[in-house]
Amino acid sequence: MGMRSKAVSVAASALLFLCASGSAQETHVGKLVGNAKRGKALYTRYCIFCHGPYGDGRGESAAYLDPKPRDFTKAVFKCRSTPSGALPLDSDLFDTISRGIHASGMPSWKPLLRQERVDLIAYIKTFSSAFQEEKPGPPVAIPPEPPPSPESIQRGAQLFQSMNCWSCHGKDGRGNGPSAASLTDSKGYPIVPFDFTSGSRFKCGETDRDMFRDLVTGLDGTPMPSFDSAMSGDQKWDVVHFIRSLSNPKLHAKLKTGPSEQ
């Protein structure tokens, strides 16, 4: 009787574990539900040569890539809508896979079906137990964007100085600040600050809201910290407008010298 009770207990525990791990690895983006088994086949086809068979970013091609492929076992992701240090939402990973990471080896995988991308995420999440042990943080709030103006850009420029953004990104935003040469990511690989004059395709999205979100969440695994508590919402928008103006010399000149739009 005792043995039977023990066996039932073990079986129940195993069942509970399977249920728990199964649900933890499930992925939801909209109405789509990811499947890790299907995702594994897709990972083998598309991702394994960079991210490696164990998801540790040590695939065959990794040695030749700069920046290095993401190490999924650490569960640290740059592009998130969740607070600094928190796990990303499934939709964050979906957006990253769909968008790709600009100026890196990671292309846009939008030609894959939406279902396939969701399946991939389900599999990627199996590389780290963090996705079974923790829940993603709540998405950060993004207030409505005020219209850009010369004053906003001017304030943003001052914040860019006072918050020491320039020490990495350079005084002109060209990614050539005094600290730039010595920056490394969380795995010790050299990392280059973004050159804001190079265009508007930022790593985690192209819109002003994406840039605002980056300021709030920071880019985990890189030296880019969260400025959530360091600046108010309006101040963050000012910085966004300033950064945006750096990639558009005409707009930059117009807003800096012309009459206010307000």
């Binding site: 040569f49 065959e60 990794a62 790709g100 100026a103 846009s108 894959l112 079906l113 939406r114 396939e116």
Partner: protein, 447 residues
């Protein structure tokens, strides 16, 4: 009459075989894999057949769009070049080959016999260099080195994403038409099963200089795409890709449109339609009786129209392809356009219908099975004296390709194929149906 038709058919398929042999098939391109660090399987369902990501990459001018496309981002030593060759063993059989009764003495007459040949073989060397000259300017150059000749199978430059739009891309040079199912990326390589016959089909007795949509052509192409929709319109010289303006001054037009959509249970499905509209010469100006190249006269019209689909059910996928063809009565009867009196009584413009179903089972990135059935039917003979079913053909192929290794540097496939074709009424002496069978196994590798 029958012998004449046979010769015409044999000459036609011989020409197709020669042309196919001279541009070979493409290719997984390790030059791209090296550039981006991606494996073959990222772009190919099973190389050389593209998957949707690979098609998108190709449509985007061999660019991933991640700001690493321009050559300036590559190591100076990077050279976008790839080589491909295929050592094989193959067996060929024709059940009604015309042979001399006494070898070496044709005057003693001929008879039909089943003839089989076999042995190790090599199909030449494909050299492909392709990539970007600069951001949004891509190129492709493909010399093919055969046993006795070097041929420039493709050579073009493409201006991509004009005015920042993926709907505007212009290509000029010698290029593969935007075929519904790429002839160059066919998974079958054996003598009988390599071509999609429908692409090259013309009714018996027809001398249309246009051989088929399966060959690279010389011209200019406008194309565009987004994630689900593609179009292309090409104006090409009527020369089957031959250089030196060999035929006439007509420009032919090819257009293709396809749309894919995502279904809840079966994933991506794709449908499309295409058309080729051309005018081909029926005679040439001559000098001392010899045709002067490029002076084709008496142009007569022809067209090829059709629709197709690519359907997916989990790891299965299959193509369905249909074509309707029409040739002007002068082309269909090999009569010069300035001599209508030579048309046989009751001559009409020939028409035909053809198509195929090709199924793949792709259980993983290293294995693919293939089955294809293809048929072509003459629906209206140009010469009423011809048998109604003359020129019809049926062919099928079975095979698989196994990729024991795959890397961003090279690819290797072990392949086995069997194909069989029946040409109705095409036996050279008896006029019975004749059959060709091919079996091929070998190693297909590129690096």
């Amino acid at each position: 009459m029958r012998l004449g038709r046979f010769r015409c058919t044999v000459l036609r398929w011989s020409a197709v075989a020669v042309l196919l042999a001279n541009f070979q098939q493409a290719f997984g391109i390790p030059a791209f894999a090296r550039k981006y660090g991606l494996p073959c399987s990222a772009c190919h369902a099973a190389w050389p057949m593209l998957n949707n990501f690979g098609q998108h990459f190709k449509d985007n001018g061999y660019q991933l769009g991640n700001d690493r496309d321009a050559p300036i981002y590559q190591e100076p030593s990077y050279w976008p070049i790839m080589f491909r060759t295929t050592p094989t063993w193959h067996r060929e059989n024709n059940n009604r080959q015309a042979i001399d009764v006494v070898p070496g003495s044709p005057s003693n007459g001929q008879r039909e016999a089943s003839v089989t040949t076999s042995g190790f073989d090599l199909n030449g060397l494909d050299v492909i260099t392709a990539g970007t000259l600069a951001k949004n300017i891509s190129f492709f150059v493909q010399p093919f080195i055969g046993s006795s000749s070097i041929n420039l199978a493709q050579s073009w430059v493409r201006f991509d994403n004009l005015v920042g739009s993926s709907w505007l891309n212009v290509k000029m040079g010698k290029f593969e038409l935007d075929e519904p199912i790429s002839q160059e990326r066919s998974l079958t390589m054996n003598n009988t099963g390599a071509p999609y016959y429908t692409y090259f089909f013309t009714p018996p007795g027809d001398n249309n200089a246009f051989v088929g949509i399966g060959f690279p052509q010389l011209g200019v192409e406008l194309s565009g795409h987004n994630d689900t929709t593609r179009y292309s319109v090409a104006a090409v010289t009527d020369s089957n890709g031959g250089t030196g303006l060999p035929t006439n001054q007509a420009l032919d037009v090819y257009a293709n449109f396809d749309q894919s959509f995502e279904t809840p249970w079966f994933g991506r499905q794709q449908v499309g339609a295409y058309g080729f509209f051309g005018r081909s010469p029926t005679y040439f100006l001559t000098s001392n009786g010899a045709p002067i190249p490029g002076t084709g006269q008496g142009n007569r019209s022809f067209y090829r129209l059709g629709a197709y689909g690519h359907w997916f059910v989990k790891q299965f996928d299959f193509y369905t392809f249909f074509m309707h063809g029409y040739d002007n009565v002068f082309l269909g009867n090999s009569v010069p356009g300035n001599q209508p009196s030579l048309l046989p009584a009751g001559a009409v413009a020939p028409t035909f219908n053809g198509g195929f179903v090709e199924a793949h089972y792709n259980p993983n990135t290293r294995l693919i099975f293939l089955a294809r059935y293809e048929l072509d039917r003459v629906s209206r003979q140009a010469n009423p004296g011809l048998a109604k079913n003359a020129g019809n053909l049926d062919t099928w192929s079975l095979g698989y390709r196994w990729y024991p290794m795959m890397s961003p540097r090279a690819g290797l496939a072990w392949l086995q194929e069997y194909s069989r074709i029946r040409n109705v009424g095409d036996a050279p002496l008896s006029g019975k149906d004749d059959f060709h069978n091919s079996y091929l196994m070998g190693l297909d590798f590129d690096f």
